[in-house]
Symmetry: C2
Subunit: 375 residues, 2 copies
């Protein structure tokens, strides 16, 4: 087993062994039975069927409660350290599928405090500004404004703080150190921070005045926060939050995670369409060293970022995807054609998203949850 | 030197060596020159002349700035873990003297979050309720409503939190552990908390939009919070807060600090006057074992809680205090008479305070600083 990788809420590096993470974190893999059960409500999302959303905690329990007439709410979020990229959109697209399927509320947290505390180069003003940029992308995806409430930590802290205190009182430094790997050099804000990320897992219950199940769709890297939140939930008198974990969205240069630190490997929602096409056309693929070689021995779709992009988000048709895989394997399709095919899907997607993102600027107040009405 | 005592923001025990604290904490003793300088503004408060307010940081600088036309603001506070007692009133009475003398604003912080985080037996609701009880005592002392702004942490967190984050980012766990003695068993809220207590030391500057000197009158036990705040102030671009430290108000049973854990040693502002008298009449004194012995060898005013109460707060006339000391020493006055004399001053004081405290209930909104207008 490959153990030479790191997955924490603040660092993802190396070649991730996702099965090993399930084992290490103590989560459960999503199996055919669970997908079957979900298919009673709607056609399972490709991300589920293709194993991108691949792990969970208590998803069966969420459905049990739902079927017993006790609907859940969704909670997810974003650390606003830079512009939104496709890697961020993926879990939000999946979250929207859940909201559309179950018609449930969504609380969306923007953790400007977190990104300030964990990044030496960012001021609080930067992360708060970026939070506003990021939330336009959330709105642009078409979430239901009646059911969706977005908040920025420093703006919604009046409501979050009492809950965060109750969480914080139940977490020792010892636990935080073991779970997050803190040491003496960490600042005291970063040590406290997990309480703020845990708070929305109980906020729906506080606001409803009764216990409401909470389902958190998020990257597997965020699981440590909620593992701790789950441990303390009973002493707070709340349900443990349930989770659905996705794998990291791959980078265009063959890395396991699309990352803001590698701009060329990353497609931002604000990139000009021409740049998007250019980035895709220079993507890392599973092609052979020469056309001749590839025609002869075929390509390797399993390591190809272009194939992964189609698998993760941009080829919804299972049949077509299987055909593409086969044709690549057999050397019947070359990388240039394949990249062009991907660009022809992503570029219009980005153009459309950018249109909706512009419209979102007029709709911010429909979605915002604020303590004090306005900034 | 007696080192068998402990003074931290959360624990004061043993017989305190106040001179040693000045040395350990690195503060400066208030000397005759500083008292002389203060006497240019007003008759120095007895607490200053008698060495109860006995230590400082940068008080000369505060006066330099003041004289150069740059007035300061005052900041003090209270941890609302129980009812207010005389030990709490003492620094507030001194703070009022400073406000009356210099006509400067006061920010008064009620740390309901702190007391919740540091006390296993208190819920957040308890400490918030107690904050309201305590602030009535502040208002009852007659602070200028135009210049005085009171806030409760969980209610004013929208304004405090961004500032607390900036403080927290600059304090490592290593520093917090060294200064406050934290270990692995401390909860992560308590580790973060000092950021919240430091924030008001800079709040006056934030609200004024320019650097404003801050003077904090407080018990010497609170110095560690502000020592850290002073260390990081320059990197925040703010002045270091200055401090005036008082000794702990003694208990009626001879201990160094009036403490809520010893109800009989403590006079609460809400005690019925009869109970106040009873507590005083059973106080620990410096009397001898018998009347005969005391008439012969005299009493020991230096260890007598009744004498200390007169010294600290309840005998403003230096001459009379000196005479009392002498007469006690010579065995000319017995403890019963002396205790009755103290009760005859404190009981009317408490009765008057309770009247003003009732009136204060109608005046809370004049003083409150809130994020969101009302609770």
């Amino acid at each position: 087993m490959n153990e030479d990788f790191k997955v924490t809420p603040w660092e993802v590096s190396g070649e991730i062994d996702y099965d090993l993470l399930v084992e290490k974190f103590g989560t459960r893999k999503i199996d055919a039975d669970l997908i079957d059960r979900l298919s009673r409500y709607a056609e399972p999302h490709p991300l589920l069927k293709r194993g991108v959303v691949y792990s969970h905690r208590d998803m069966d329990w969420i459905l049990d409660r739902y079927e017993a007439g006790e609907p859940f709410y969704l909670y997810t979020g974003r650390g606003p350290s830079g512009n939104t990229h496709l890697g961020h959109l993926m879990p939000w697209i999946f979250t929207k599928y859940l909201q559309d399927t179950f018609k449930v509320p969504l609380y969306f947290q923007l953790t400007d405090d977190e990104k300030y505390l964990f990044n030496d180069n960012l001021e609080l003003k930067d992360t708060r500004d970026m939070a506003y940029q990021n939330l336009l992308d959330v709105i642009a995806l078409g979430f239901d404004p009646e059911l969706t409430k977005i908040f920025i930590d420093t703006e919604y802290i009046h409501s979050l703080y009492p809950l965060a205190l109750k969480v914080a009182k139940r977490i020792t430094f010892s636990t935080a150190r073991a779970v997050f790997g803190f040491d003496n050099s960490n600042n005291i804000g970063s040590i406290f921070y997990t309480s703020i990320q845990a708070a929305p897992a109980f906020l729906g219950s506080v606001l409803a005045g009764k216990n409401v199940p909470c389902l958190i769709p998020c990257g597997i890297d965020q699981d440590p926060h909620f593992r701790v939140a789950r441990d303390i939930a009973p002493t707070l008198g709340y349900y443990k939050p349930a989770l659905l974990h996705n794998k990291m969205f791959p980078g265009l240069q063959g890395t396991d995670k699309m990352s803001s630190s590698q701009p060329n490997s990353t497609i931002y929602t604000t990139d000009p369409p021409k740049l998007v096409r250019k980035k895709i056309m220079s993507a890392f693929t599973g092609g052979a060293v020469s056309v001749e070689e590839q025609r002869k021995s075929g390509g390797k779709p399993e390591i190809c970022s272009v194939f992964k992009y189609k698998l993760y988000l941009f080829e919804k048709d299972d049949q077509k995807l299987a055909e593409l895989y086969d044709r690549c394997r057999k050397g019947e399709i070359l990388c240039g054609e394949c990249k062009k095919g991907l660009a022809d899907v992503i570029v219009p997607f980005i153009e459309e998203h950018q249109r909706k993102r512009e419209e979102a600027k007029e709709r911010v107040e429909e979605f915002m949850l604020r303590d004090c009405g306005g900034t």
